[in-house]
Symmetry: C3
Subunit: 241 residues, 3 copies
Amino acid sequence: MLGGELKNFVSTLRVLVDEAKLTVGPDGITSRAVDPANVAMYDLELSAAAFESYESSDGLLGVNLERFESVLKLAKKDDLVQVSFDTSTYKLLIVIDGVEFTMACIDPDSIRQEPEIPEMELPINLTVEGSQISRAVKAADMVSDHIGFRCVEADETVFIEAEGDTDDVSLRLIADEYESLDAADGRALFSLDYIKNISKKLPKTEDVTLTFGDQFPMLVDYEIADGECSVAAMVAPRIET
Amino acid sequence: MLGGELKNFVSTLRVLVDEAKLTVGPDGITSRAVDPANVAMYDLELSAAAFESYESSDGLLGVNLERFESVLKLAKKDDLVQVSFDTSTYKLLIVIDGVEFTMACIDPDSIRQEPEIPEMELPINLTVEGSQISRAVKAADMVSDHIGFRCVEADETVFIEAEGDTDDVSLRLIADEYESLDAADGRALFSLDYIKNISKKLPKTEDVTLTFGDQFPMLVDYEIADGECSVAAMVAPRIET
Amino acid sequence: MLGGELKNFVSTLRVLVDEAKLTVGPDGITSRAVDPANVAMYDLELSAAAFESYESSDGLLGVNLERFESVLKLAKKDDLVQVSFDTSTYKLLIVIDGVEFTMACIDPDSIRQEPEIPEMELPINLTVEGSQISRAVKAADMVSDHIGFRCVEADETVFIEAEGDTDDVSLRLIADEYESLDAADGRALFSLDYIKNISKKLPKTEDVTLTFGDQFPMLVDYEIADGECSVAAMVAPRIET
């Protein structure tokens, strides 16, 4: 697999956790990571097709992401990275341009269990270039610790907005500026820290889909690794006072 | 107005102060900023012609420059930035590529008054590329906390020089290396911190004019915003012992 | 002499010491620097031919490298730097693009004496591109504080390897990947800090020669300044437990 894409996979999980359970199988690798405060979650599905060659039976690995990420720093963006798992020693073997790393895995049972996800009806669905969200998040960061996503159905418009003690900021997205919108009236407020970290990993020039509702959690969906890895983030809202 | 130019205007004032009074009027915006120790001063005159379109009645605004500067970070160099003032809410509205900031102004009376400037006769006038001054300042910084500007009339030469405990540094500017010189014998010594901060904002490849005299303040004059904003800095000398 | 090359000469010595004795003479400049713990040593020989023009009688100068290095920061890579020594004031005069620095020298007797170097038989001799060593050192740094160099005579192979508490790393260099090898069985272990600092100064795309033996010191030889400056580093091994 290309170094840049594997780095992206690992660093996305690292936004929320330092250790992760990877579920491996013949079709690829999946992982669900939930932050310690249970506010945000990532679901990643990395297809076998993302690899030059891939072979795996079913299994569960506990991986120290921090260590994995530091090993991957040795790989340039276009270096092929070779990863294999030795079931007898419970170690990962990572080969980057002739350098071999042997990395011990962690007992997956020692890693925090993810919570159950409730079923939700989220009526608002916005698809927009990742850079639009990043820009609004950067702007919000200048005035507040929170960020709101608000949809006005009649105007087919979404506002990403933040209110500080003295200053406010707002990005209005009208029809020309988004790819598609299922509109409904509603607004949800989020802790800026979580949105900021998620926003840093968004693809800049590719589409990102936000799904939210009035005072409900928000889903952020997009693809990485040339379409072969789907990323789904979910963030719990803050109660507005 | 272009983001890069407005950033330059605001960051120049920020060299000396965190809050500034902007005097607005039909012809443009002016501001005088003096540092808390009354050692250095900036006079900026930003012409209405620096803007794509400009309209203003006479008024006085108190602006938090730190906050203004951080908002402008969102603008790329060539982004158009739109600034308007709401006289009813006493707030600035800044629009950068679709993102709207609403920024509260400060009561101008709460900002420190600038002192009166005495009339001075400064016989030495040197016009030279900004990079020459920056280089000499960087060099001086390696050996001392002070920097001297000295003119020798007979040689039509200016020395920018610094003396440390064990090491010295000197840049000699002779006829070929400056644009023009009104020579007179004299030397003035300055605190390096102030000259260093002023030097960081100098245009590198454009002309800068230094006007000074024996043990007198120095004026540093140049233009930014494609000639539509004049900058005049003044620094008080240190008494030589 | 070119700024980039002189910076390289000074910063190589700076890896181990802050002050150095430079032995100057008609043929060039030599210096031997040993770190305070006597673990590593540099021998540099800078030929007179490295300079555009060079003239010197025999002498010994004590130089504050930290200060020298900071002065050289003013020089761009291709700036000519002019260095002369005033025997009456015991000061160096450094001229960089019109800026003159006068820098006091240090009494060479106040600088630590270098130890005697014992004669050694080192049977293994590997010549390889500098980047190969740098890569292995970076990888070792992720798992351990030590790094081993091991040669297997029968395979004509050298391993650069490190063992951590849970993770290991290894770079295997076989016939295609090095320039030349005098093979013998043996392994030597070194403190990673020293190897890391030496590795940072290695030329990336030029050949570097490693000479070592079983549990013996290692020599690292290469050239800088377009072949006009030879660098020889020596590092003492760590005893394996």
